[in-house]
Structure formats: structure tokens, C-alpha cells
Symmetry: C2
Subunit: 347 residues, 2 copies
């Protein structure tokens, strides 16, 4: 496997056994002052992202995460606090604590509420980057629930018709549990992330489809031209622009927290995010076998080959499972420079 | 205003006062055998779609709707039945009744549940085309709630990587109430509907961006080439393809109804759809003024002009309100042929 398949910027990678990756992250977090149980959970969430192929929000993001705990943007001691409970909608304050711990907690709350009432919802204010959003989809599906969650972000995307970044790329996650592999969609509202633009640039590749505008206002597949113009495209042009706005507003209103325009635009200072977590208790619906059957049939139909198809049609989450198996068997690919840096932080 | 601004295929339109449009539709439904109260509600939902500029799902769709009641695809006497209540998640069976009446009823149930519990959810099986999905977003926002709803459809969109239509364009609606005009997103998962393709073709216009593939598998802006290939694009390519799949699965599982692969692909036979309705009781959160302030600020920021912007940035629902005002003042634009036909059905 090379850098391309890994979604990394370079081809020079090596593999580290998953337990070694996990333990190294735990040690780095303990050294950074995390309390034992929280260090274990936080390290696990980072390690699992790399294990599942979401390298940009796994090990590769870890140094920035630790640097933000040192600069005080992330408060490692802050635990989410219940602000109010309006019926089945709980509001939580993340206290600017670690984003992945806060998000994990709030999806857990949504699951517990759904277990009791069929549906559960937790809204989270004042949190930080949740890292790989798919994490919380898998969390819900592993527990047998349908999970939906989304986050706002700093302004990193121009609305349709504008040049300046004024909306977030606001990832949306939807997860459906299935015996033969959960179906987990994790999609940002930009067609390509800045990470994907950088990866294509470093591989000297064009984007597969138009990804944004160049400085002259022309649609382009040249990644560096979009990095310069800061004008990536929303998915579906005006449609993704509108959906990003709605996700931001709903997260802000439900949580009582900040919306994108109130969030600093620099990645190192991006904080005070708002998120929503919804869970549905599939198992309470009592359909059991027929739901299993339905999910399998839908996926079979989705993937059934038709004349002239170009290769296999993949369902959301399929590649994650394949990557997970491979990385558990062969070791998790790491960028040597980042791995050395994190080992240093753990020593 | 010409046909282009109306989203109609031709430029030859005339205007009819809203009350006349509404009364004509009521009479046609009564003649078709609808019970009085249901005729009034059903006519109102159709008339409001035309009033709001959603002509394709207002008057223009009405003759097909009536023809489907005559062919028995739509059962005009069927009322939604509560199948089960799993905590706060209610399951309703639409009995293959009129899609707009069923959807209106289920959003109403979600609102009532949310009023009691903060969050409410109704899932609907065995229903028909809900016409303009935005209707149920406005319904929620008019009542002061955040509303989210979506429907599956017949297979009308190829998954990313496939040539055959195997997913639906599954419209998703998200509505946020606001004093100065609700924010209501109503978006299908295809970049352009077949209606939009036909309208561009009749106006001899290219699509503003690539809308699908031609028969040779090239991306194209030529509407008729996509009509022939039956390969419109999902929004965001692989992203909209995945989101359409998830919306279908979640609607099918929550409602216990059919998923897209079980629905007949011909518009005249498309029936047995599944839908989801979620409401959040914003007013129970007790933020009042600060929520109002937040919504206004977000929209102001979204629309703030920046150097070199091409015209005004519109928020979802903005154009609907403008069209509504204009159509109430000047009359609702109708296609003369369709209007004559419906007048005949009402006579």
C-alpha cells in the first residue's frame, strides 16, 4: 500500500502495530497531564481513527491537538456538564475540553436516552474539533442504534455566490447498524478538504472533479489553485452551501452555543464549536430479522453490478472496514516524521 | 416575470388569483370523491406549492395526482394509522393514501410529541409522493419548531460508480423558524431534477454546471443528453450518492416500510414510500431573544457582501418568501394548458 491509498501526502510510510500506537498515545497524554481514564479514551479515539484509515484525524492530527492543550485552547481537565434537559433534548457544555471526549460523551447520552425513549438527542456547546466524525457513528452503530451527528466548524468555505469563507464545512455523520458491517457516512460539506487538496498537490495529481475556483474565478481541478484562492466548492454548489448553513444554525440553536461566524478561522485557534447527536433505538422497533434482511438487501441492490459500471460501487463505511482489517493485521501506517515526534512526546 | 424565473418550461403563462386557484382545486378534489375536510387540506397544500413558486409540485402535478387516484395507486380514503409507538418514535402507516395529507399529519405528530418532550419523531410507511417537501418544513417553522424531514423515492439516480438508477433523489428538508422569515432548505440528492432538465431543454439553455453523464459517459451540461442517458449526477458525486442511500435506509428502518429498491420506477406507479419527520421544540429551550438574535446574525453574516461577490447570496427559503408575496399580490402563475385541464376536472 502506498501513500495514495492511505490518503497521505507522501509515499514514505511505515507501519506500527495497533497496540504500540495506542500505548504511545496514552503515554503522551498522561505526560501532558490527562487523568488516566480520559487519557485511555482519548488515545483510543485517536488510534482508532488511524486504524480505520482516517489518518488526517488520527495520529497526524495528534501533535496539533497536544499543542492546543499547551496553548490553552483545549482545556484537558474540562468535563462536559449538563446545562439543562428540555424533555429528551439534553444540553451539554463542553467547557472547551477535548473535542473527542466531549463528543463521545454526548453520543453516549443520546444512546442512553434513546434506549429509554426510542429517540434521544444531546446538543453540545463550547467544545473543540471532534477529530474523525465517523467515530461517533461507529459508536452508535456498534451499540445497535441508528446515529446521526454533526458539528459546525470555523469559517472555511465560501457560501455559493460569495468569495469569502463564511460557512463551515460542517461534517454530517449518519450510521446504520448492520451485522455484516455497519453503514457509516461521514461527509463534510466541502467537495474536498484542505487535507485532500494538499495530498493531491503533493502527489502532483489533479482532483477527480472540479474542487473549487482559482484566483480568476474559474472552476478548477488544480489543487494548489484552490489552496491559494481559499475558494473550495460546497458539495452540489448551492445545495451544500445551504445544508452547511442549516447544520450550523440547528447545532447553535439546540446547544445554545456558537455558530460558525463566531468561531476563529485559524485551525490552531478554532474552538467553541457546537454539535448535535441524535440516536434511534432500532432494537426497540422489534423488527429484528426483517431489519437485518432489509439492510442486507438494500446494500446488495446498491452494489449490484450493471452493464458498463466502472468497478465496484462502494457503500459508506465499506472501505473503513477493509482498512481496519488490513491495518490490524499488518500494522497501522504512520508518517515517520509524525510518529517520531509523537514518540518523543511520550518518552 | 417570464417562464425562466418561474421554473416553468414555457414563457406563455398567465396568473390566477390565489383564492380562485385554491377553490378550483377544492372542487376538483370533491368531484374526485375526497371527503370535505381532506379536500380542503389537500387543495391547500397543492395551492400553496404553486403560490410559493414550487410549480412542479403544485398545480402542474395535480393532474397526475388525480390520475393516480383514478388508477388506484393513491387511495383517497386512506387515513394514516398509528402502527406502534416505541417511546417517542411513532410509526404510522399511510395506507397508500394521498402523500401530502399523510406527510402533513406526520409532521403534525412530530410537532405534538416535541411540544411534550422537547424532541418528537414520526416515521411513515406506505405513503405516496409528498409533493413539495418544503411544505412540511414551513409547517414546522410556522409553529415555531425546528423541523427535519425526508422521503425516499423510486430509483431515479445511479449511485456513484454505477450507470443504472438504483437510488432515489430522496429530498431532505431542514427548517429553522425566524421572525423575519423562516430558513427552509428543501433539497433533493440529484444536482438537477428531471423537471429542471426538461425546463432547461425547452428554454434551449445549458445547465449552469455539469448535471450528469451523456451516453458516452462524459460529464455534460446539455440537459437532453442526461435525459437520454438517465444518468443525472448526485450532488457532490460520491457524497450525495452516500447520503441518498442513508436517508433511504433510515426512513425504511424507522418506518418499517419500503426502501427505494422495492419501489416501482415509473412516476405513475411510484408508491409505497417511506418518510421520517423530526421536530425540536425551540421555544422550550427558553432562549427566546438570544435565539432570535442568533438566527438574524447568522443570516446577516451569511449574506454580508464581500469584494467581488457575484450578486446577492441567498439563504434557503428567501426566494420562496419573495415569490409568495409576489404571487399573492399579482396572482399565481399557471400554465394555461394545465389550468384549463384542472378547471375541466373541477367543473
Amino acid at each position: 500500500m502506498n501513500g495514495r491509498a492511505l490518503g497521505l501526502g507522501t509515499t514514505a510510510t511505515c507501519r506500527v502495530p495497533y497496540p504500540e500506537l495506542l500505548n504511545t498515545l496514552v503515554r503522551a497524554l498522561l505526560r501532558a497531564g490527562f487523568e488516566t481514564e480520559r487519557a485511555a479514551r482519548c488515545a483510543q479515539l485517536f488510534a482508532e481513527s488511524s486504524r480505520d484509515g482516517v489518518y488526517s484525524h488520527g495520529l497526524n492530527r495528534f501533535p496539533l491537538f497536544l499543542s492546543m492543550t499547551r496553548s490553552g485552547v483545549i482545556d484537558i481537565r474540562a468535563e462536559p456538564q449538563l446545562v439543562s434537559s428540555s424533555g429528551l433534548l439534553e444540553r451539554w457544555d463542553g467547557g472547551m475540553g477535548p473535542g473527542n471526549l466531549n463528543a463521545y460523551h454526548c453520543m453516549d447520552r443520546a444512546l442512553k436516552l434513546a434506549d429509554l425513549h426510542g429517540v434521544g438527542c444531546a446538543a453540545l456547546a463550547n467544545t473543540n474539533h471532534w477529530m474523525g466524525g465517523g467515530t461517533y457513528g461507529w459508536q452508535a452503530a456498534d451499540a445497535g442504534f441508528i446515529g446521526i451527528c454533526w458539528t459546525n466548524t470555523c469559517p472555511n468555505l465560501p457560501p455559493w455566490g460569495a468569495k469569502e469563507p463564511r460557512i463551515g464545512n460542517n461534517p454530517l455523520v449518519i450510521a446504520v447498524p448492520r451485522v455484516d458491517g455497519h453503514i457509516v457516512l461521514d461527509m463534510a460539506m466541502s467537495q474536498f478538504s484542505y487535507g485532500a487538496l494538499a495530498a493531491h498537490r503533493m502527489r502532483r495529481e489533479l482532483l477527480p472533479v472540479d474542487g473549487g475556483y482559482d484566483l480568476d474565478g474559474r472552476l478548477t481541478r488544480i489543487p494548489e489553485d484552490i489552496e491559494v484562492s481559499h475558494r473550495p466548492l460546497p458539495i452540489g454548489y448551492w445545495k451544500g452551501s445551504g445544508l452547511a448553513l442549516m447544520l450550523d444554525m440547528v447545532a447553535g440553536i439546540l446547544s445554545g452555543g456558537r455558530t460558525t461566524y463566531q468561531v476563529a478561522a485559524e485551525p490552531e485557534k478554532e474552538t467553541g464549536l457546537s454539535q448535535g447527536f441524535i440516536a434511534f433505538a432500532v432494537q426497540r422497533l422489534g423488527d429484528g430479522d426483517s431489519t437485518r434482511e432489509l439492510s442486507d438487501q438494500v446494500i446488495r441492490h446498491f452494489q449490484s453490478p450493471s452493464e458498463g459500471d466502472g468497478g465496484q460501487v462502494r457503500y459508506p463505511g465499506e472501505r473503513v472496514l477493509q482498512t481496519r482489517r488490513e491495518n490490524l493485521a499488518k500494522g497501522v501506517p504512520v508518517e515517520p516524521v509524525v510518529w517520531q515526534q509523537v514518540q518523543g512526546l511520550a518518552a
